[in-house]
């Protein structure tokens, strides 16, 4: 859409084809000045972001190559890839990688499926639909720490939590949720928190369906399942992908739930929590940095995929404009 022969920016002020210029030099100069004028507003944001987010990461990369424990500062030494070897061979760290994958995958998958079912339910008209929608998004609006505390103390507590209270009423068993099934307990609270988010995105997708096509399919005798399978689901694909990817990016990084509910105990330590422990309590700076880089590599794998999806969304938006 931009015209490479003239340096006119895509401002739409003047159609680029109507700019053949006999006097080249002053125009080129003026164009360059104008280019900088259009670029200048970007610079503060760009520079700020590079300084605050990219430089620390570069520093993390450098620290990850050192054997550095702040309790023994005199023994700080270049260690090459030694930290990475430790991260990948250390039992606890390896387990936290597995935990991160398990936690992220299960929470994302379950909340997307539940979110889809709920979105389909809420796409229908019924009495009080607005109120039900408001009730459904409440979990997502609770401050994450508050929600983790709520689950840990008010719901899961084996002595006076709501779950065992209800089971007691019914004469059922009294499980110790957070010690018997710690990872599932953390996952359940996160699924409760994230299902509404998925529902909202998918609901927006459902409401942008072309209704005339569905009407036509119905008149042609297509059943509800066929319409869902061949019209609704393909239309929702972009929204499903978007929800999955945004969910993954946020849940991979989850710290609040693990920190608050289990303090990483009982095999629930995910990578963000382990890194926090490694540098904040164990003061193993080199090791923590290497683990941080491992998280970044994992996220990059998700993110390249994510960017492709988002860029396809983006292309549609751009072509619409």
């Amino acid at each position: 859409m931009s015209n490479p022969t003239t340096a006119v920016s895509v401002s739409g002020e003047r159609p680029p084809t109507a700019a053949p210029t006999p006097a080249r030099r002053p125009v080129a100069q003026r164009n360059r000045a104008r280019e900088w004028a259009t670029r200048a507003p970007l610079l503060p944001a760009l520079i700020f972001l590079i300084v605050v987010t990219q430089l620390p990461f570069v520093a993390t990369l450098v620290i990850s190559l050192f054997d550095w424990n702040s309790f023994r500062p005199d023994r700080r030494a270049f260690a090459g890839l030694e930290n990475y070897k430790t991260v990948l061979s250390d039992e606890a760290l390896r387990e936290s990688i597995v935990t991160t994958v398990l936690l992220t995958a299960s929470v994302v998958i379950v909340s997307v499926v539940l979110g889809l079912l709920l979105a389909l339910l809420l796409d229908r008209k019924f009495r009080g639909r607005g109120l039900v929608r408001t009730m459904l998004i409440a979990p997502f609006l609770l401050v994450p720490v508050a929600s983790a505390l709520l689950w840990k103390h008010a719901l899961y507590n084996p002595e006076y939590g709501l779950f065992n209270g209800v089971l007691n009423w019914l004469g059922g068993p009294q499980p110790e949720w957070l010690t018997d099934t710690p990872l599932i307990a953390v996952e359940a609270s996160l699924i409760w928190q994230w299902t509404p988010f998925m529902m909202l995105i998918l609901l927006a997708g459902l409401q942008s369906r072309p209704l005339d096509m569905i009407e036509a399919a119905r008149l042609d005798g297509a059943g509800a399942w066929q319409i869902f399978r061949f019209l609704t689901l393909p239309h929702l694909r972009r929204y499903l992908e978007l929800g999955t990817l945004l969910g993954s990016i946020y849940i991979v990084q989850n710290f609040d739930a693990v920190f608050t509910m289990t303090r990483g105990g009982l095999d629930t330590a995910n990578l963000p929590y382990t890194i926090y422990e490694t540098f904040y309590n164990a003061h193993e700076y080199g090791l923590a940095s290497a683990a941080g880089v491992v998280v970044v590599i994992g996220t990059i794998i998700i993110a390249t995929f994510a960017l492709r999806v988002v860029s396809s969304l983006f292309r549609e938006e751009a072509s619409r404009a």
């Binding site: 605050v52 620390p56 796409d123 609770l142 008010a154 709501l162 927006a204 978007l242 929800g243 970044v296």
Partner: protein
């Protein structure tokens, strides 16, 4: 906008409609049931926050226990104990200031990316987004060490800077999509009439993009308000925010369930209120303006 999915019956009209109606009613009831299941923990927290500590910690739960404000009084330190006000004020301050900074930085950037796009503007957009995919933990340690060395730990302004960087990419993306909605022809028309840039921004751009900018600010505010990892690692006593405060008083004083619930309610209230008021905008913002 709303999708009505009552099937159009072709044959045997009364029987088919009746069946469809019954099914619709059943699904409505199911939706209500699930809605209640999801909101129940929040309601339980609300109820518990109004119970006395003794009534809060019973098994089976005491639904009909008398209501009291003790949990809230306790939280606000009426009966001794640490006052939550410094933490709450820190949260308000960091969230407000970082949101303002985000707007100051993101608005010109979004303007450059949408109304008068620079060349290769999509690349710039992707750079912004990619910073969001860098996990927070991966840059935390250098930030901690640097702040420690320049004596900047436990300082609210450190959080303000970090929250600004955390929300800036989202804000640029959202506002780019809101500003892109403004037809260029309107701006050109204003230019023809001799309006200058400030006038155009104030008279043409602001009214159209205003709601979008408000939604962006709301989301930045919520994210800053909710953030805990930075707050946990980089603050101590002075700059502690509400989420970090919440975790400390649970562990240091043993458990007071009603008080914890009251505290959780209080710090969630701004987000709950704002979120309920702006449901649609919230989705749009959280999905980076991609879903409209």
């Amino acid at each position: 906008m709303t999708a009505v999915s009552t099937p159009v019956p072709i044959t045997s009209v009364p029987e088919a409609t009746r069946r469809a109606k019954r099914r619709g009613a059943a699904l409505g009831v199911l939706a209500w049931f699930i809605g209640i299941v999801f909101v129940l923990p929040v309601l339980w927290m609300l109820l518990t926050s109004f119970h006395s500590e003794a009534d809060a910690a019973t098994n089976p739960p005491s639904l009909a226990a008398p209501l009291t404000l003790d949990g809230y009084k306790d939280f606000f330190g009426v009966g001794g104990g640490a006052s939550p006000w410094p933490a709450l004020l820190n949260s308000v301050g960091t969230s407000l200031f970082s949101t303002c900074f985000v707007l100051v930085l993101a608005l010109p950037a979004a303007f450059a990316l949408s109304i008068r796009p620079v060349r290769k503007w999509t690349d710039v957009m992707f750079f912004f987004l990619s910073t969001k995919m860098l996990p927070v933990v991966a840059g935390l340690l250098p930030v901690f060490l640097f702040a420690r060395d320049i004596n900047f730990l436990d300082n609210v302004w450190l959080l303000v800077i970090l929250y600004t960087s955390m929300n800036l990419p989202i804000a640029v993306w959202m506002m780019q999509s809101f500003l892109a909605d403004i037809p260029v022809s309107i701006i050109e028309a204003a230019q023809m009439d001799g309006a200058r840039l400030p006038t155009i921004l104030w008279r043409v751009v602001a009214p159209i993009a205003g709601p979008g900018i408000a939604a962006t600010s709301l989301i930045c505010f919520i994210f800053s308000w909710n953030e805990m990892l930075f707050a946990q690692v980089l603050t101590g006593v002075v700059a502690q925010t509400a989420p970090a405060f919440l975790t400390t008083f649970v562990t240091s004083q043993g458990l007071f369930l009603a008080k914890v619930c009251a505290a959780s309610m209080v710090i969630s209230l701004p987000v709950l209120a704002a979120g309920f008021a702006a449901q649609d905008k919230l989705v749009q913002g959280l999905s980076l303006g991609a879903v409209k």
